[in-house]
């Protein structure tokens, strides 16, 4: 096989891992996001809740993701009640283990991102909403959350990029996403430079696209930063 044909063939093989990588990212970021919202709710509910969530965030941000994946994939099998529970059919599968670990991990980081966003909400905006007769829940849904999400979006973007990179660890528990496929091609062909560079380029392309998409979303969500309509060039018609 010529060198070019090998590169093309490798590229096609690695491309088959892209859906796996992307679905790992999408599912875990979505689940982690829901969990982060729940954590934020618990954190705001009571003193004890705040303490518990801080402990959770500390433990998941302070230890490596790889050890968290191993703890779930290999460790949970050691515990009797997990083995006999309804969760076991899921936690036996590497895919669900990877999803669980990634989601629990990103939830801790997203909870911090969300906290930063919530702290940036001006007190006056909340007070104005309450004065208008909005209840706490409605003020949170209509005023606080939108402002917080807008504030948190740049940090959220980098969290998603970090998650794209983090999914590569799923290859260690036998999932064939991009890195897993690359590793198996390298161990068959010993052509590490070529194979791993192509894999790297695919990751860069994914992250570049994601960053651009989030940037567009950010511009859409912050109309006030685009300037008033009169600032724009007026059409002749």
């Amino acid at each position: 096989m010529t060198r070019l044909a090998f590169l093309w063939d490798t590229f096609l093989q690695l491309l088959a891992g892209v859906p796996v990588t992307l679905s790992l990212v999408a599912v875990s970021v979505a689940l982690g996001g829901l969990l982060a919202l729940a954590l934020t709710g618990i954190r705001r509910a009571s003193r004890l809740g705040e303490w518990a969530v801080s402990a959770y965030v500390f433990a998941l941000r302070g230890s490596p993701l790889l050890i968290q994946i191993f703890l779930i994939y290999y460790g949970f099998g050691q515990i009797g009640w997990i083995r006999s529970s309804f969760l076991w059919p899921f936690l036996r599968e590497p895919w669900w283990c990877a999803i669980t670990a990634l989601a629990l991990n990103t939830a801790a980081y997203q909870a911090e991102v969300l906290r930063g966003g919530l702290n940036a909400v001006p007190k006056g905006a909340v007070e104005a909403a309450r004065v208008c007769g909005m209840g706490r829940a409605m003020a949170f849904r209509r005023i606080v959350l939108p402002i917080a999400i807008r504030q948190a979006l740049p940090a959220y973007t980098s969290e998603v990029v970090i998650m794209v990179k983090a999914t590569s660890l799923a290859s260690i528990i036998t999932l064939f996403e991009i890195t897993g496929i690359a590793h198996s091609i390298v161990s068959e062909t010993f052509r590490a430079f070529e194979v791993l560079s192509i894999a790297g380029l695919i990751y860069l392309a994914i992250n570049f696209t994601l960053t651009r998409a989030f940037r567009r979303l950010e511009i859409r969500l912050t109309p006030q930063s685009r300037g008033r309509p009169t600032d724009r060039p007026v059409s002749k018609a």
Binding site: G62, I67, A192
Partner: protein, 243 residues
């Protein structure tokens, strides 16, 4: 209760305990992280210098470096250095008539890989810190007729370090956690030692939770050390108005 006793016998320092290997592995984690931190600072200083230089070539090289290393999974970089490195050494060796696969030293590969990755983050930290130095101080130093090296040593380096310390603390935490990935190239650090212990005893949950706790202890203590260093570096700066 029996469970707890069994657990502490397993990870303890008794004849059947894994305490000594685990502590040795923790020392290895700290050692390889420190080495990687050093490599990262060297790459960070060069990256920062290139980003701030007037040369377009240096600027774009640094931009490619930080973009690529921050956009590609760390595991891929470690694999590239490990397998790519042995591929290159193998190619050199073949020209001298040697055959076979050349395994590289796990410590060196891990130190270099994590160092190069963290260098990309360190570049941004140092650049931000350099730009935070009030311009007036540099002008004053020049007016006081300091040479470039003297100015670097007396004004730029200490001030940059002061402003960079919080960011460097974050990079250090990142390195500590990334060092777990070095286990894939065979270095016996915490991650790998717990994996070996699990292979021998089957007690997966006990050992992986112990490994996670060891990491938490290291990150907590070093985090506290960085906060003390920050307080030390910022002494006499309270209430100063930043330009």
């Amino acid at each position: 209760m029996d469970g707890l006793v069994a657990y502490f016998t397993l990870i303890g320092f008794g004849p059947t305990g894994w305490g000594v290997p685990l502590l040795r592995a923790a020392t290895m984690t700290v050692a390889v992280s420190l080495a990687a931190f050093g490599v990262g600072i060297v790459f960070g200083v060069f990256g920062c210098w290139a980003k701030l230089s007037k040369s377009v070539v240096a600027q774009s090289a640094a931009a490619v470096y930080t973009t690529v290393l921050r956009g590609v999974p760390d595991l891929l970089v470690i694999y590239l250095l490990y397998f790519g490195g042995s591929q290159a050494i193998g190619a050199i060796a073949r020209t001298f008539g040697h055959q076979g696969f050349f395994g590289l030293n796990g410590f060196v590969v891990g130190m270099m890989a994590v160092g190069i990755i963290s260098g990309a983050y360190q570049t941004e930290v140092l650049r931000g810190a350099y730009l935070a130095i009030p311009k007036g101080e540099l002008e004053a130093a020049r007016v006081a007729s300091m040479g470039r090296l003297l100015m670097l040593r007396r004004i730029i380096a200490p001030q940059t370090l002061r402003f960079a310390l919080p960011g460097m603390g974050n990079v250090w935490q990142l390195i500590l956690k990334e060092s777990a990935l070095i286990s894939v190239v065979g270095l016996i650090e915490i991650m790998n030692q717990t994996r070996l212990a699990v292979g021998r005893t089957g007690a997966a949950f006990s050992f992986y939770i112990t490994g996670a706790i060891l990491f938490l202890v290291i990150t907590t203590f070093s985090g506290a050390a960085f906060r003390r260093a920050e307080a030390w570096a910022m002494r006499g700066m309270a209430g100063r108005v930043r330009q």
